[in-house]
């Protein structure tokens, strides 16, 4: 998500929140939402360990999730729908071309399905491969 959009979304969410009038603290807006803030960000904000026993079974489960979780790596490979029969004339039904491009990307272990600029027609949403 572009930074501007992220900020707009955060502002929209904040305006819906009854707590919007509460004193505002420093916010995450300037940070990439996909990345955990650096440790320094937490300093002096009262964040961090809270009272209670540590090394609970729940701690071990949480630690295991942290260890085993990786950010997704999406191959830098493009699948252009025009190479699958797509035509951007505003008339042609591109349903099959887009579905085929998605399927091809999926079969190749992921990538980016690209619709070049143009006017496109795709009448009905269809289920697609992840």
């Amino acid at each position: 998500m572009p930074l501007g959009a992220a900020t707009a979304a955060a502002d929209a969410a904040a305006s819906d929140n009854a707590a919007a009038n509460a004193p505002t603290h420093d916010r995450f807006d300037h940070l990439d939402h996909a990345v955990r803030p650096p440790a320094a960000w937490f300093a002096g904000r009262g964040c961090g360990d809270q009272p209670g026993p540590r090394n609970l079974p729940q701690d071990r489960s949480a630690d295991r999730i942290l260890r085993e979780t990786r950010r997704p790596r999406i191959p830098r490979r493009d699948f252009d729908v025009t190479e699958f029969g797509g035509v951007g004339d505003g008339v042609t039904d591109n349903t099959k071309a887009i579905a085929d491009a998605i399927t091809a990307a999926s079969h190749h272990g992921g990538g980016r399905v690209v619709l070049p600029a143009g006017r496109r027609t795709r009448p009905a949403p269809t289920a697609t491969a992840a």
């Binding site: 009854a18 707590a19 509460a22 603290h25 009262g46 964040c47 961090g48 360990d49 809270q50 009272p51 209670g52 026993p53 609970l56 729940q58 701690d59 489960s61 949480a62 999730i65």
Partner: protein, 145 residues
Amino acid sequence: MTIGSEMSGGVAHVFARDLLFSSTELAAGHRLKTNSVRGGYIKDSNVFRVNAPIIGGPALIIDYTYGEGDTGTFYPEVTDINLLHWTIGRATAAWDVIGYTEDHVGTVRLEDFTLTDQTGGNTLELVDDFELVDVTIDGTPVTNG
């Protein structure tokens, strides 16, 4: 720490720890939003080592009458919800847990949970298994809902 309401698939194995609720206007400490229109499951949620000086609502809300209420056919499954090692200054209630007659809330467990100043009442309806271990409210040990 809220789960839902759009979770028609399901959410499980949630761990949230070492939380300081610095806002004084939170609608809830841990809130699970679902009903028979939204459906899905919430299982094995664990919120632990929580320090909450002031919560604007209850510490825990699981209310199946939320939103559209019981007007759908997708009965939610909510079970194995754990609040462990909570220290709360003030809250309107410790729990507000309401299931359906035909679809109860499953297991809910509070352990080492202290609420110093409760300003309202607790609600507990249609829950199969509600466990309190080391729970103190307004200075008094509480052993059942």
